[in-house]
């Protein structure tokens, strides 16, 4: 028998979570219901978040952008705030699954599902986003780059609820790019995805954040390449070197979707293209 709990607000949701074997959180269900199909016994109890209004909305607050964890991929894709200030995230959302999946799936779900190939995660890490976790007794904030422990594993505890994600309002001069290679143009898991957020001044990199998905157990940053690029003036030669450097900074695997060599190669290509697009700005 499956138990379905439908709390009316955040407080009630947190109360229902504050037990020994808490229910599984259900938002869009695009990942969870697929997992449940193979292991129904692991999913005896669900906490449905559809009435928890505190998890909704995309807002600009002071100097930060705050996205409720129940914001759907479609809302992110079409958000005027994100299109203006963080297009890297809007573009990443537009690449997820199909229209139907984007209408159901949520940013919170995409994060806690912790797929190494999740499309929103590199964009959020490139934006240096922070996850806001609530339990009945406390609230904590974890930078997303420290949030993931491995495929499907995060620092989020079973009694905690991911309420929102927020990041500093990007400067108007910042530039963000999301690129993805999948086996098919739509409804396909990424073989490699990359997000780059950078501030350039006369083609010189003031700072840059590079995040890559599906090339390691979690989405990763490329700190060596980032540090090396900082303060340098972008040129085709420099980009070629960055491409080679990124290839060595990642640790992809071979599986039926792709091989190590191809993933390494394509990660380099995508970084090159992301940097080239910065160059053309």
């Amino acid at each position: 028998m499956t138990q379905i709990l439908v709390p009316k607000d955040l407080q009630e949701a947190l109360e229902l979570l504050a037990i020994d074997h808490p229910p599984r959180l259900l938002a869009g269900g695009t990942d969870l219901l697929v997992l449940r199909k193979d292991n129904p016994e692991k999913f005896a109890s669900f906490l449905v978040l559809e009435n928890v209004r505190e998890l909704c909305g995309i807002h600009k607050e002071n100097n930060r952008i705050r996205i409720g964890s129940r914001a759907t991929h479609s809302e992110i894709e079409h958000s005027s705030i994100l299109m203006k200030y963080a297009p890297v995230l809007a573009h990443a959302a537009a690449e997820i699954g199909s229209v139907q999946i984007r209408n159901r799936g949520t940013i919170g779900g995409n994060i806690v599902n912790a797929s190494p190939a999740g499309d929103l995660i590199p964009a959020l890490i490139a934006l240096d986003a922070v996850a806001e976790l609530h339990s009945l007794y406390r609230k904590r904030e974890i930078p997303l780059r420290e949030f993931f422990l491995g495929p499907g594993r995060t620092v989020c505890r079973l009694n905690e609820l991911l309420v929102a994600i927020h990041f500093e309002l990007p400067d108007a001069r910042e530039h963000g790019v999301f690129l993805k290679i999948g086996p098919r143009k739509a409804v396909a898991c990424s073989k490699v995805n990359v997000a780059v957020q950078a501030l350039m001044h006369h083609r010189t990199v003031e700072w840059i954040r590079i995040a890559l998905g599906a090339v390691a157990p979690t989405v990763i940053r490329a700190p060596r390449t980032e540090a090396w690029l900082q303060g340098k003036r972008l040129s085709p030669e420099l980009i070629a070197e960055a491409r080679a450097m990124v290839r060595e900074e990642i640790s992809p695997i071979t599986d039926i979707r792709s091989t190590v060599e191809y993933r390494r190669h394509v990660a380099g290509v995508l970084i090159e293209r992301a940097l080239e697009s910065s160059l053309s700005k």
């Binding site: 098919r184 191809y262 394509v266």
Partner: protein, 783 residues
Amino acid sequence: MTTKFIGKRVKRNEDPRLLTGQAQFVDDVEIPGMLHAAFLRSDYAHARLLSIDVSEARKRAGVVAVFTAEDMGDDWQPGPPLVSPPPTVKDVIFHSRRQVPLVKDKVRHAGEAIAVVIAESRYIAEDAVEDILVEFEPLEAVIDLEKGLEAGSPLVHDDLESNLAAHLFQKKGDYEAAREKADLVIARRIVVDRGAAAAMENRGIVTDWDKKSQHLTVWDTTQAPIPIRNGLVARLGLSEHKVRVIAPFIGGGFGPKMMMFYPEEMLIPWVSMKLNRPIKWIEDRRENFYATTQERGQIHDVEIALSKDGHILGLKDIFLHDTGAYDPYGLTTPLNTQCHVMGPYDIKNFTSEVSVVFTNKTLVTPVRGAGRPQGIYIIERLLDIAARELGIDLIAIRKRNLIPPDAFPYEHEIIDQAFAPLVLDSGNYWPVMEKALEMVGYDQFIEYEQPRLRAEGKYVGIGVIPFLESTGVGPYEGARVTVEASGKINVATGIGTQGQGHFTSFAQIVAEQLGVAVCDVRIVTGDTAEFHWGTGTFASRGAVVAGNAIHASASIVRQKVLKLASKILKTPEEELELEDGLVRVIDIPHKSISLGELALLANPLRGAVQPGTEPGLEATAYFGPQYGATAFGTHAMILEIDPETMMLEIKRYITVEDCGTVLNPLILEGQIHGGVSMGIGNAYYEKLHFDENGQLLNASFADYLIPSATELPRIEVGHVETQSPLNELGAKGVGEAGTLPVPALFAQAIENALNNRDLEILETPLSPNRLYELLRPNEEKSR
């Protein structure tokens, strides 16, 4: 001929039902008291079955019965051979090993059924499957075709000396002598791998046994209901009139739903009779990946001998064909490969030797194309390589070798899939190819566009592949055409329908003869109670064989109509016309009688009739072709490839088909579009990955990606008509045509796009990842 209905773009009669969800599929059948079946399937590809304990499953509430091979007693029998034993070719070897209803001693492929649970609901049945305990002794699996034939390989069938399922040698002329004279001999190894048919609807069966009337009704997702009926009759010991098999609307067949006698097709009716209850089984997608047949695995060692001006002097092809764990479908698929590896070319000297290999993988039977795409891939790859080595244009080398129009009927001196001599009935190939070249703008592209786009750094390539397809094979089909008292026409034929538009194209054939509206012709397919002679829908034969049977029946009914109307209207037959559902006197339009009135008059309730009179306006006729009609076509494509990621985009896609008389261009184009989509999947997206243990690693649509709308180009279709002399309609089949040349076309166009990178493609399917791997050694060499 001038026609009123044939060849017109008539919208499909069946679409309103399909589009509004009114059409009946197998899973729509609900019967009071119906039980549900679920199967326990083997996780191992190769394992001895040591013990099986179903006691817990039987105890579960809601479970009605559980059957294992033991429980079947003497009713446990391997399936019937589906295609008669191999031909009378000299020295042929064929070991018939048919699929079993439930595993008795040894599992031979992952997904093979071990037990069936029957319960009040599918949920309960699935849960009870989990209760069954099985002890296996895992065995080393036979996966690789070459290793499978090595001495000391594990055996799929222990009673055989090796995994060789069949061996067949065919020749024409003298290849070795031709080779001696050749200026160029090219030898290559070319590998084709496996894919799934991936029909939208999985398989399904509902059976209803009525003990009082001793009558069995079976709804089955089969392409061939009559052979299924015949097989059930033989196995269950019932009269043919006590078994009704219905193939309702089916969400795609593509070959694997042919007259297979899948284990489930035999078991579910058997269980229904045992329990005296209706039973439903609907295959799920995972089962479909493991238990529904697949195709295309072959390894070819092939050699072509040419003169320096590019004439083909001879071809020699030694190949291995993967048949999976059993070989119920005989040699159909490898024979098709042998018959298509010479392509549409005039090849005088030919040697072909196939070794069919048992492996611990899902069974292989025809999938749309059925061995033909492999043959086409081989010859077209060889011609591309030859053209490059000889410095001849890709089109010129093909044009030079095409069978000329005056050579038909062209005898190939080998036997085909019907075990009859391979004869190409008719054709005029070059105009078809020329039309495709015009439509794609070949010269313009090569001279101007490609250099311009290359200069912009774009990797664009063009491909043009001609191909032929043997279609419309026998033995025969039949049809009964009846004018009803309402004036509407009822037509019944034995073949099944899986989306081919039979309810419209067949109606057009009848409307042509009887002068009624297409929507007033009701077609019944795939119901043995309505028509009980015939074979099925496969081998691109529906329109040719059933179509001509319907044409023949309708022609006889037309004669009956004219004869009766002539008597009633007191006008000679030749002064009558059939129009708008009426028989009219040609020059006196108001002097007429409706077909409905005639039908009533032909079935009098009182009064004396002439001796020998048959009631009604009805006729049954059959058509069996002397041999198959051969269709021809050419596909052309322009694609752009990202030279770093190998992701590609199709810019133009052109097909020109010569399938003889076109019955309905709208339906034809739909068939071609579907076929090309499937071919694109075969060429660049779809491949089944089996590991060394015989586990399928991508048995879901999350990992086995079929192309979607975003991958498919707009497909432009052109027609040329060379009518077949073998049938009245002049028709040739086209159901598989769209799929056949696509892998060869991809290989050619990709090489053309990347022609600066020293690439020679000798395998299919490709993928961006695989293409990258093929190019990498070259890149490393050049560094």
